[in-house]
Symmetry: C2
Subunit: 416 residues, 2 copies
């Protein structure tokens, strides 16, 4: 939780943290500012002290909404900086950092760097800062294990409430998609038709998804997976826009929207067959569902998340599928890990991969996805089932948005 | 244009470029891959050679759509890398880069770094790469002057067609907003009402904007400015969600959506007063419109963009307003620069600020915004007018999406 930041900084011997970039779609900056239209900002937090936000003068109104102490960049007039830097903008930016650090009393010490921003600009400026302030050790932390990821790993109830609300939005949209698809007319060759009698495409379905998400105050900055047939067998294929919707084929629908402005995410997957399922697809689905249920029954409080992933590997291998447990980077069978933490990042700690460190544990306050799946692209099919789960303070695991698990969606205007 | 990349690399003595991050919402990666759900990828282009895309194995289908030579990260098994790196993920990533560079024949030389990604992770990995491959000089280029920004600065006709299409989407949405607002009932205290009789808020209007953008295949990753009254006087205030819509106040509506998935942007602003305008607001508007018209008449082919900005400063000062020409960081009057290039970045070269370098010129193929404005937050008003303009191959300046310039929008159900 946010209140853990100082202790985490202490653990990593950081005297201060430096966050750069916009407030939106930039989780560390959003975490400390609450978002808003603040662009190209600089946030500095010394250990044990409140954060200070440096911002463009034009955005002082938006910056003030953060509730942080705000200082305008105009305190360090750019024309002067540029002159001193002989018109080198990277050096000018570095000199501004030097003055900011001086004003913050940071002439030496260890400072961690964070934020989603332009890496080329950042490197150019950092190389200058290192020359200008040799006693300041500016270090990059690997994102997946950074103090931010560790603080964000556990959520307070207000944060979980926001994830839950996105879960409601997500399942509402999924319900509307199911309602829309099952209401379509079906051509003789089992292709779904739009209201105007032309074939329905993946692109059409995605346009509806985007519309309904926007209507409910969400956005999907990382897209939506709606993949049919062979594409469903490729776990991160988002689906081919021109593909038609056909009865009987597996559709993997993985939707991971966030609050508008880059806030909290939800993550959810169902696999559907419209009208009917081939016996082979039904069998694959039943195997995944059995493993999914096993996962839900075996969530063990304070155990490493990867233990659960290992259990999934073993179960799938027992069913006769390949998994990362005994096959290096399999491309058929169970080809990914069980899940991941979920919050301001669609993927965050705790991690469940077999190589994850032991401190990725299912402790109270984490929100994780459980998303076992089986993929056979050459057979033109794939199945994944995913819910997002909160480990409650009382230790119970709670699915944050309930939704039915049917594989086959009955078509209202079609009979086999 | 993209075909200029090799020559630009030569100018900057770059033997190769290294682009990291996702394909979406990451302009340099999008520019060379065409977007798609490719995450955490690495693109390397040696000067004079085609780019090669390294990607997660699960995303091989999406990666292939780029048309580039694609190599899966599974070529460099992660478990082995992690073992060699003694479980340090940043070092493991650096070792993978070392192998990739070796396979690309890049054991020495000068390599520029690009992409929108996590700066902390990037720095941690770069510090390791620099130790592992001392003969490889890995440099950050300031984004605003990078080879990418210089290549992207001029657009081919296919790229302009995409900006123009976003312009049509933008003006269509603006038209719907105007239609919606002017059709509202008005309370006695001049507050606009929703269909259900409760007051209309900025948040309601923004929800409609998001909905209509999604419906037309666009997204607004950087938000929308819809600011009324005092907020309109703060150029980058996005508007307070709870603010009510009131007759007679200046509303600055600045909308800058992009193609879904992080493609080409459009950028557009109108200032409206609903029902009527106070004489002071009308005067402010007329002053901005006069300067806007002057800008349109004075676009000089192959001249530095900042010359036009200087003209704007002079015109506004002649009208009695402050400008950056003679006031350092003014907070009233004309407080920003005239405009900026527009493409895969909402802000890109050429730049128009008074400190911009002389090579930011209005040459054929650039698409720039022209957005003069005047701001008086203490008087509760602000005005900005903005169109996006293409400098055509024949040298003519063309507004890419026409829309009327009325300040006062007549309310259909209200008379003064």
């Amino acid at each position: 939780m946010k209140s853990d930041l100082d202790a985490l900084m202490q653990d990593k011997s950081l005297d201060a943290i430096l966050v750069i970039g916009n407030a939106e779609h930039n989780p560390p900056m959003y975490y400390l500012t609450g978002g808003g239209h603040v662009s190209g900002a600089t946030l500095i937090k010394k250990r044990g002290e409140e954060a200070v936000l440096f911002h463009q003068d034009m955005e002082r109104g938006e910056a003030a909404k953060s509730g942080l102490k705000c200082i305008s960049y105009s305190t360090y007039p750019y024309a002067d900086l540029l002159k001193q830097a002989k018109n080198d903008p990277a050096l000018a930016a570095a000199i501004r950092y030097q003055r900011i650090f001086t004003d913050m009393g940071l002439k030496r010490g260890r400072v961690g760097l964070y934020g989603f921003s332009d890496v080329g600009s950042a490197l150019a400026v950092i190389d200058h800062i290192r020359r200008l302030i040799p006693d300041l050790e500016l270090v990059g932390e690997t994102r997946d294990d950074s103090v931010f990821m560790k603080a964000m790993e556990t959520k307070d109830e207000a944060e979980v409430a926001r994830v839950r609300k996105m879960g409601k939005v997500t399942t509402q949209v999924v319900g509307r998609v199911a309602e829309y698809l099952t209401g379509r007319e079906v051509r003789e060759d089992e292709i779904l038709l739009k209201e105007d009698g032309t074939p329905l495409t993946i692109a059409d379905v995605k346009a509806k998804i985007n519309l309904w998400l926007a209507e409910l105050g969400a956005e999907n900055p990382e897209g939506t997976i709606f993949a049919i047939g062979r594409d469903a067998g490729l776990p991160h294929s988002t689906g081919s826009p021109e593909d038609l919707l056909r009865l009987g084929q597996t559709i993997v629908f993985d939707i991971f929207p966030c609050e508008a402005g880059g806030g909290f995410f939800y993550d959810f997957t169902r696999t559907w067959c419209l009208g009917y399922a081939a016996p082979e697809a039904q069998k694959l689905y039943d195997e995944v569902k059995a493993v999914f249920d096993k996962v839900m029954e075996n969530i063990e409080l304070d155990a490493p998340f990867k233990n659960l992933n290992r259990l999934v590997c073993e179960e799938f291998e027992r069913q006769g599928h390949k998994s990362p447990l005994n096959t290096q980077a399999p491309i058929e069978g169970y080809v990914h890990s069980l899940g991941h933490g979920l919050g301001l990042n669609v993927h965050e700690r705790p991690w469940s991969g077999l190589t994850a460190t032991d401190d990725n544990i299912l402790k109270p306050g984490v929100v994780v996805t459980a998303e076992p799946g089986l993929y056979y692209p050459e057979k033109g099919m794939g199945v994944r089932i995913e819910d997002s789960v909160w480990i409650r303070p009382d230790g119970r695991a709670e699915i944050l948005a309930e939704y039915p698990y049917d594989l086959v969606l009955e078509m209202k205007k079609w009979k086999k």
